[in-house]
Amino acid sequence: MLRLIDVNCRIGAGPADREGSIRTKEALLSLMDDFHVEKAVVFHTVSQYSDAVLGNELLLQETENDPRFLRQWAVQPALWELYPRPDEWLAQMKENGVCSVRLFPKQYGHSLRRYACGDLLDALAECRVPAFISLDQLASWDALYDLCQDYPANRFVLCSPGYRCLRYLVPILESCSNLFVETSNLLMHDGLSDLCRHGLGGRLLFGSGAPEASLAAAASQLLLSDLAEEEKQIIAANNAEKLLSEVAL
């Protein structure tokens, strides 16, 4: 039986929660139980859609005393006194056991280039805090390449790359050793096996995008793949554990 760590989950209501969809933490835990998902990296929807700081606070409350949730904060570059400075973010993250961050440059409307995000991303790099970012938060695949190249000391996790990604994703992975990929929506036929066969299995982290996307679908894609059990386990949990264990806050 594989041990799974889901690196792409959210807690909280979204603006377009759909009929029959999972909306509570308890329901998410129940689904995790079905697929033997030990732990899930979670951010709060309020961080994504409304207010990063408020969402981060809500996340702490909702995940209190529940070690199955690995807390992820949304962060954004400082602007006057409106948001914490990088050292303040990191101090609060350390205090609250937050081990990764999520970037929403498109949603928040800020640049990822050095003039805007340099201080923040340099601080994250110093503590080896991985920064997760969905493809839909980037202007283009070239923007992802530029991000990885401009900040070589950072570790980035691309979430929900989609099934049409190979012609962009593979050369970027081959050029940028600081990029990892979360597997939800990475749904090319035999895609996981292909990426592993070409030496990229160490860069893949199991994720689902739940509850907005299907944990059952993401887990089935990995569990039923042609990969050997050891390869599946690397993607299912080992890569994520290694990445998160190296955080030094």
Binding site: R18, G20, T24, D33, D34, F35, H189, S214, A216, A217
Partner: protein
């Protein structure tokens, strides 16, 4: 930090997940998978058991130029079905849809012969080309229906130029699989269903998309006995399969994957592990397709 209300405090009582009355495997436990569930093999990463008939009603072969599709040949699509314990699938050629309709159909004719243990064929029909020997294709028992992709053929499902094919399908009780990406597509399919009651119509992608689209799917399926929906585009949230089954019934939903646009593993696993009875899952995974395609 300021104390703020938790989400559970903020939510209304109506925001609980949609829980079905019907439990998995007939037990009283809503969520716990048990060893005799059809989904049990998915949790273990094993092929599906032989006694479950699984048939992919929405599959393809061949390439598109839009992006790098992997393992798109008939042999590779069939190989995946064999590995997973999927009994078969009905394929149309992406070449027929995206480029050369005639060439794609001829290649499907070849593919269903070469992969005879797994693949059946749809004849892709184009509103721009009526010069097709329909009798020749449908004399071949491997061809089980028609595929209509009006969007790529720069047309609409209710384009009168399709009537040539709808009339033939109706006369021969042949099913038609539609690519139905927008809500209007289901409206048009309902119109076709009313005019051609002897053909069975499958709303491709119908079961999994937005609320607005699903409302039209539900209306069409409820109103016409000859309309069905399939499960392609299955990255939709957990609970989507159960929700649509509640709306249209397990008799009217068919497993379809869109392989090789997508892998089929995620959707077949999601249906197999849904919170449905084994009887419902059997219908969705294959028995409905068996009846529709006369397998």
């Amino acid at each position: 930090m300021n104390q703020v209300p938790s989400n559970s405090e903020l939510r209304t009582p109506n925001s609980e997940p949609n829980r079905r009355e019907t439990p998995c495997c007939g037990t009283s436990d809503f969520r716990l998978p048990t060893s005799d569930c059809i989904g049990a093999n998915v949790y273990e990463g094993l092929p599906f058991p032989d006694d479950v008939f699984i048939f992919d009603i929405h599959a393809h072969v061949h390439q598109t130029s839009d992006f790098q599709m992997t393992h798109a040949s008939p042999a590779e699509v069939a190989a995946t079905m064999r590995k997973l314990g999927i009994d078969g699938g009905c394929v149309s050629s992406i070449l027929s849809i995206h480029a050369d309709c005639r060439l794609g159909n001829e290649l499907v004719r070849q593919a269903v012969r070469e992969q005879a243990d797994k693949l059946f064929g749809y004849l892709t029909v184009s509103p721009h080309d009526h010069d097709v020997d329909l009798d020749s294709f449908f004399a071949d028992p491997k061809f089980r229906g028609m595929k209509v992709h009006a969007a790529f053929h720069r047309s609409a499902i209710n384009d009168p130029r399709y009537d040539f094919f709808y009339e033939y399908a109706d006369a021969h009780a042949l099913p038609i699989l539609f690519h139905a990406w927008e809500a209007i597509d289901s409206v048009h399919i309902a119109q076709v269903a009313a005019r051609f009651p002897h053909t069975k119509l499958i709303i491709g992608h119908g079961a999994m998309r937005t609320w607005e689209i699903k409302q039209e799917v539900i209306k069409a399926v409820r109103r016409y006995d000859n309309v069905f929906a399939d499960t392609t585009v299955s990255v939709a949230y957990d609970g989507a399969v159960e929700w649509i089954v509640n709306e249209i019934g397990a008799d009217r939903l068919c497993y379809g994957s869109d392989i090789p646009f997508y892998d089929c593993r995620h959707v077949v696993g999601k249906v197999a592990t849904a919170k449905l009875t084994d009887e419902e899952k059997r219908k969705i995974l294959g028995e409905n397709a068996r009846a529709i395609l006369n397998l």
